[in-house]
């Protein structure tokens, strides 16, 4: 029935290195060089080992609930590597450890976070990132605002924010995308589509064929990439980051990957997904294909791998030591960081660790010292 076409668009898909580590030479030309690949490969191995370490810590009750990154390392690090350390801003969700580490966060911070310690969020000066974000979908607006400030001050800086496939269902995702697009804010939206949001598969989360097409609603440039292909992820990220840096505006990247582990250590994915599906994705592991590629190029061998495995283990030991070696947090912290200055009532609560007015001013009850307790205790 229609008269004319008012709008049309398409979403493209990029893969450079396939599951067997074979690259498309033409596409690879403009991609990452072998030295970088080698470096990032080592990072990914370290990340994988730390992930397993965290899992074990949780199982032995030395850490709280922890969400594994396993299988998503290429997506995280390929994107993170496209940012300038100390310049560009990274706004994470909670499943891109490698990106945060690559971007300057000391590794034990993330461990501290999951050990129930806010000091894991106390991002060191000069590290341009926000702490992990637990409420899904909410952080993208912060990235948008941060990047907006860069634009207002005419700084050649970019923000990148990570989130999952599930997060795109939240209203805040939509509002962030619309703001970024309406004001042409240099913010890159990076979706780790790992096929699941806890027990809900992507096809149930949304009815659309791709996640990337959500960007069409905002006329925002977008692409779908093989998220387990380090080269594709990095090339798409780098191009969009540099485009944004030079005033080209925001972009959206869907990295198609897979959550190989449970949602978190509190979850049991066998309740809701087939082991066949998991098996199929094990074959697409981003680490396996890189090793194949590097080996084929004679850049890697079993001895090097053994040494790397050892180094990664060593690294994990140090990270655990740093995270567990820290003194217990001071209870004063919960008061001291509520505001820049302590309001009077809060100071009283801090001093007495009481909210009852008689606990705070026992003289009211004819008792003598603050914090006096009944003699039966």
């Amino acid at each position: 029935m229609p008269l004319k076409t008012a709008y049309q668009a398409k979403v493209e898909y990029l893969q450079i290195m396939d599951e067997n580590g074979v690259v498309d030479e033409k596409l690879a030309k403009d991609a990452m060089g072998d030295q970088d690949i080698l470096e990032l490969y080592q990072y990914m191995i370290k990340c994988r080992v730390l992930d397993e370490t965290a899992f074990k810590l949780q199982r032995s009750k030395r850490m709280g609930t922890y969400p594994q990154n396993k299988g998503q390392e290429a997506a995280a690090i390929g994107a993170g590597f496209s940012l300038k350390r100390g310049t560009d801003f990274l706004v994470p969700c909670y499943r891109e450890n490698a990106a945060l580490w690559m971007h300057g966060l000391p590794m034990h911070y993330i461990f501290l976070h999951w050990m129930g310690d806010e000091r894991g969020n106390q991002i060191p000066k000069g590290v341009c990132q926000l702490p992990l974000c637990i409420p899904i979908g909410t952080q993208m607006l912060h990235a948008t605002g941060i990047a907006w400030a860069f634009k207002m001050r005419k700084e050649p800086r970019v923000a990148m924010t990570f989130f999952g496939d599930g997060a795109t269902s939240e209203g805040d995702f939509h509002e962030a995308m619309n703001f970024a697009s309406a004001f042409q804010i240099p913010c890159i939206f990076f979706c780790q589509n790992n096929q699941w949001a806890i027990s809900v598969p992507r096809e149930q989360q949304m009815n659309s064929a791709t996640v990337a097409q959500k960007a069409l609603a905002y006329d925002m440039p977008c692409i779908q990439v093989d998220g387990n292909d380090l080269l594709a992820v990095h090339k798409a990220s780098r191009d969009f980051v540099e485009r944004a840096r030079s005033g080209g505006g925001p972009a959206f990247i869907e990295a198609v990957t897979y959550r190989l582990a449970d949602h978190t250590t509190a979850d049991d994915a066998r309740r809701y997904r087939d082991s066949d599906e998991v098996e199929a994705w094990v074959g697409k592991d981003p680490i396996i294909r890189l090793r194949k590629y590097l080996t084929a190029k004679n850049l890697w061998n079993d001895a090097k791998q053994a040494a790397l495995d050892e180094a990664a283990k060593q690294n994990a030991t140090e990270v655990v030591r740093a995270a567990e070696g820290i003194e217990r947090p001071a209870i004063a912290d919960i008061f001291d960081y509520t505001y820049a200055e302590l309001p009077r009532e809060l100071a009283l609560q801090k001093q007495t660790m009481r909210t009852s007015s008689l606990g705070q001013r026992p003289e009211q009850a004819g008792l003598s010292a603050p914090g006096v307790s009944a003699n039966h205790e």
């Binding site: 709280g64 609930t65 976070h113 999951w114 050990m115 129930g116 310690d117 806010e118 637990i134 409420p135 899904i136 979908g137 909410t138 599930g166 997060a167 269902s169 939240e170 209203g171 805040d172 949001a197 806890i198 027990s199 809900v200 149930q204 989360q205 949304m206 509190a266 979850d267 309740r271 809701y272 217990r328 947090p329 209870i331 912290d333 919960i334 008061f335 509520t338 009532e345 809060l346 609560q349 660790m353 009481r354 909210t355 009852s356 007015s357 008689l358 606990g359 026992p362 009211q364 009850a365 004819g366 008792l367 006096v372 307790s373 009944a374 039966h376 205790e377």
Partner: protein
């Protein structure tokens, strides 16, 4: 779901009791549907809806997108259209994105349409701290919703109450926020009648009778208060009231008790300032002014953000803080 052998032998946990209420009411009333994140095949992250999808099908136990406003807003529509939706919000912290739909819509429709449009639904929400959960998984926002006319706010503390209160809530013609203290979810078992029974909304429960002081609380803190009672000197006789319903408040039960005891301590997990304890204390001084022998005291969360779990025990009111406040109030 039908009772397991363990349940028959040892009683029901809070999770079991809520699950049983859902199961029985879904059997009884085909208008009842459960919806929320992971409530279906996965049975909810706390397994409260375990097994229900298998029995009642994908159309009545619905895994939704990750979208709290969507869950709340579409549940409102379902309720308006004659269903009895029971949306689950996965943790109380995630009521945030659904706040507008709950407060500005669910709560208002009856009055803004002068009765033409109503929203009979029960919003189930795990609440409170103490389980070593991540950020925003340990808050106690009940005062916010108690300050919202048009909503009813419930928080059972026992399996027995949970079942009877949930059945009342589902049959109530108005929107109910049903907070489930997650610390109690599996902390103990209790005998719970297998059949249908309801506990009226708006009725507090006198858990222990006493002469010297009234202790008012709700949710998980009921158990902390019970612990505190055990540590008090023999000759101190405390009346413990479990509010069960926060809004509408059972003023009479509280007043009757305080008129007798002349002293009151209120305990809650939420930050003290403008918490629901303030409403109770104010009401008491309004109505029992001449009976009061000491100022009403509040043992509450501090006026800080609920800390991450390394410090949560220091944040939450415990038996020690409660009993100390009781003794100080008695010494006044």
């Amino acid at each position: 779901m039908p009772r397991t052998e363990q349940m028959i032998a040892q009683g029901l946990t809070l999770v079991d009791a809520i699950n049983e209420a859902l199961y029985q009411e879904m059997e009884r009333d085909s208008r009842v549907v459960c919806l929320g994140e992971d409530v279906g095949l996965n049975g909810g992250v706390f397994r409260v809806t375990e097994g229900l999808q298998k029995v009642f099908g994908l159309e009545r136990v619905i895994d939704t997108p990750l979208s709290e406003s969507g869950i709340m807003g579409s549940a409102i529509g379902l309720a308006m259209a004659g269903m009895r939706p029971i949306p689950e919000i996965q943790f109380e912290g995630f009521l945030g994105p659904a706040y507008d739909q709950l407060v500005n819509h669910a709560a208002r429709y009856r009055t803004r349409s002068r009765g033409a449009v109503t929203v009979p639904m029960v919003v189930r929400v795990p609440v409170g701290g103490g389980i070593h959960a991540p950020e925003l998984h340990s808050d106690s926002p009940e005062a916010i919703y108690a300050h919202t006319p048009g909503l009813k706010v419930l928080m059972p503390s026992t399996p027995y109450d949970a079942k009877g209160m949930l059945l009342s809530a589902i049959r109530d013609p108005d929107p109910v926020v049903f907070f489930e203290p997650k610390r109690v979810y599996r902390s103990y078992r209790q005998e719970v009648p297998e059949g249908d029974y309801t506990i009226p909304i708006g009725q507090a429960k006198v858990v222990a009778e006493g002469r010297d002081l009234t202790l008012v609380t709700w949710g998980a803190s009921v158990h902390q208060c019970n612990d505190a009672l055990d540590t008090l000197p023999e000759d101190v006789s405390v009346e413990l009231i479990d509010l069960r319903t926060i809004a509408p408040l059972d003023v009479d039960t509280i007043i009757q008790s305080v008129e007798k005891t002349g002293r009151c301590v209120i305990v809650h997990e939420a930050p003290k300032t403008a918490g629901f304890g303030a409403e109770i204390a104010t009401t008491i001084q309004e109505y029992c002014f001449l009976h009061l022998k000491a100022p009403v005291q509040r043992v509450a969360g501090f006026d800080t953000i609920m800390p991450y779990y390394k410090l949560e025990q220091e944040y939450l009111p415990d038996a020690k803080r409660v009993s100390e406040a009781v003794m100080q109030c008695l010494a006044y």
